[in-house]
Amino acid sequence: MSNYLLKRVLMMFLTLWIIVTLTFSLMHAIPGNPFASESDQLPEQILANLRAKYHLDEPLPVQYVMYLKNLVSLDLGPSIKSDSRSVNDMIADGFGASAWLGGQAIVVALIFGVLFGIIAALNRNRALDYIAMALAVLGVAVPSFILAPLLINYLAIKLPLFPVATWGTWMHTVLPSLALAFGPIAIITRYMRASMIEVMNQNYIRTAEAKGIPTPLIVIKHGIRNAILPVITFLGPLIASLITGTFVVEKIFAIPGIGKYFVDGIFNRDYPVILGTTIFYSAILIVTIFLIDIAYSLIDPRIRLTKKEG
């Protein structure tokens, strides 16, 4: 087991290094530079000084090595555009809000998605199933930038239950969390329905019926654990993308999360921000996938982590 963990952690660092290298080279391959918008206003000497300050005048391999050196000491470097703050500061300031929203959204999505999926599966081809599936199609089809204003309009303005936007109390988190959870609820419902239908047709469910176990207990004790693996698989990337913030929902609700840095960084060619946010996202994704793999083996005893890696 410890052997497996060691191997796994090494693989994780290797993956991260490849991502850093790819991002670094792609980033420098796209045209433009952090000072492109100022280049016709500022004298050449100032631009040269600026470039020198951020070591952009050095050859790329030198910059790459310097960046890696800083990265090893967990320093993601300064932001070029907002020079008073480092990338570390940006993530430290914004991640709390983003992760809180994302976390809430995941919990809501998981509970309701699994619940709706089970209800749909048990009432297959009946009214409840059709309702759940119609909602699921809606959930996949309606983008969050439509859903969020709708939620604000109905639950904050017409019926002033929640604040319209900004960040502060827990009440502020409800609408953005719902907006974030809607799509995932729909996807989880569909996954759960499909795998629950399959599981409920398995012979071991009939064995349980023959033991005289009532249907609700069969679903809880025999159904869910066997049916939830596809949902867990989907959960990995979902967790990573939700807790690292989403540009659209955070923008609409004026939430000080980290979602905007992902987009702004690219627009501004703010090299350290691009690299920093990418690394941060990747690291969370890699760790989540690792945790999901562990969850697999806890849920299904046939999956053993220590076996040869496939």
């Binding site: 012979n203 071991y204 064995t207 033991k211 005289g212």
Partner: protein, 340 residues
């Protein structure tokens, strides 16, 4: 009349499909006494398994439903019981052994927990008692090291061992009746013999009544006291195993017997198959369902259902050949030989 442990009277089960309604079971009557093993024999699709599921109330509805007839267990008409009361009978009074042990166990639950699940529910026992019971059951069905095995998962068991676990599940609540639906079909031959021996031994020790469903006459001869031969959703012949094997009365049973290899045939002899296929149960024939494949079919066979005639020792067969007006069978056999 003496009360049977289980009696099935004129049971009819239909299944709705897109192509219409299939009459899977078309009026089955038989009974099982306490401590007796009854085999239901017949080819695929003749309604054996559906009959078994109907006894347990396990017919999926929709698409299936019991159209007519009743299942009476210890004087209670269980086919009419509300689901809640039926749950009290399943597992505790009637246990079921399924065909495919590879899929009949929940892969994510320890075998011990699966064995005593029904027991814990009906007896409200503590955890330690439940575990003790699970170990006891594993020992009963002949699994070595039950103390360790009880905490393992099904994938750590071989096919034969899993079938033993399935049997342990069926027996965990001391039922009076066990229904075994082709319990050995999915196993290799040596394991088949072991499982049959186990069933036979348990049946004798626990004074169980067993309904065993099979298409293997070897299994019937090995384990059963009485047998019920089914064809196209109906019973064509019943009787003690000795009687039916020695004096089969229905042409379908003759066909089954002739299609078996025999050890006492000195010369190499080809097995004789029953030509043709069973009738379409969407639209079953008005007369005897076997008439179309029967070497001895007469005009009446195609027009009217044969009555059930009783012979010695409760031996019954439903065939027109046993009508007084029918020609004697040896004449027909002679005629049949001349034809071919």
């Amino acid at each position: 009349m003496k009360e049977h442990l289980l009696s099935i009277e004129n049971l009819k089960v239909n299944f709705k499909t897109y192509g219409g309604e299939v009459q899977a079971v078309r009026g089955v009557t038989f009974h099982v006494e306490k401590g007796e093993t009854v085999a239901i024999v017949g080819e695929s699709g003749c309604g054996k398994s559906v009959t078994a599921q109907a006894i347990m109330g396990l017919i999926p509805n929709p698409p299936g439903r019991i159209v007519d007839g009743k299942v009476v267990f210890e004087g209670t008409e269980i086919s009419k019981l509300p689901k809640k009361e039926l749950l009290g009978i399943r597992g505790t009074q009637i246990g079921m052994v399924f065909q495919d042990p590879m899929t009949a166990l929940n892969p994510t639950m320890k075998v011990g927990a699966q064995i005593v699940e029904g027991f814990v529910r009906s007896q409200k026992v503590s955890r330690e008692e439940a575990k003790k019971r699970a170990i006891e059951m594993l020992r009963l069905v002949g699994i070595p090291d039950p103390e360790q095995r009880v905490d393992q998962y099904p994938h750590q068991f071989s096919g034969g061992m899993r079938q033993r676990v399935v049997i342990a599940i069926a027996l965990a609540c001391n039922p009076k009746l066990v229904i075994a639906d082709e319990p050995t079909t999915a196993l290799d031959v040596t394991i088949q013999a072991q499982i049959l021996d186990l069933l036979k031994q348990l049946q004798e020790e626990q004074e169980l009544a067993v309904v065993i469903i099979t298409h293997d006459l070897g299994v019937v001869a090995e384990i059963a006291h009485r047998m019920v031969v089914m064809y196209a959703g109906m019973v064509v012949e019943t009787g003690t195993v000795e009687e039916v094997f020695a004096n089969p009365r229905h042409p379908y049973t003759w066909g089954l017997m002739r299609s078996l290899p025999r050890l006492d045939e000195s010369e190499k002899q080809r097995l004789i198959p029953i030509e043709g296929a069973p009738p379409d149960l969407f639209n079953p024939p008005v007369g005897c369902a076997f008439a179309a494949r029967c070497d001895f079919a007469m005009e009446i066979c195609k027009q009217q259902m044969p009555p059930t005639k009783t012979f010695d020792k409760g031996h019954e067969a439903a065939c027109w050949l046993h009508d007084e007006r029918a020609p004697r069978i040896d004449e027909l056999v002679a005629a049949g030989r001349q034809d071919s």
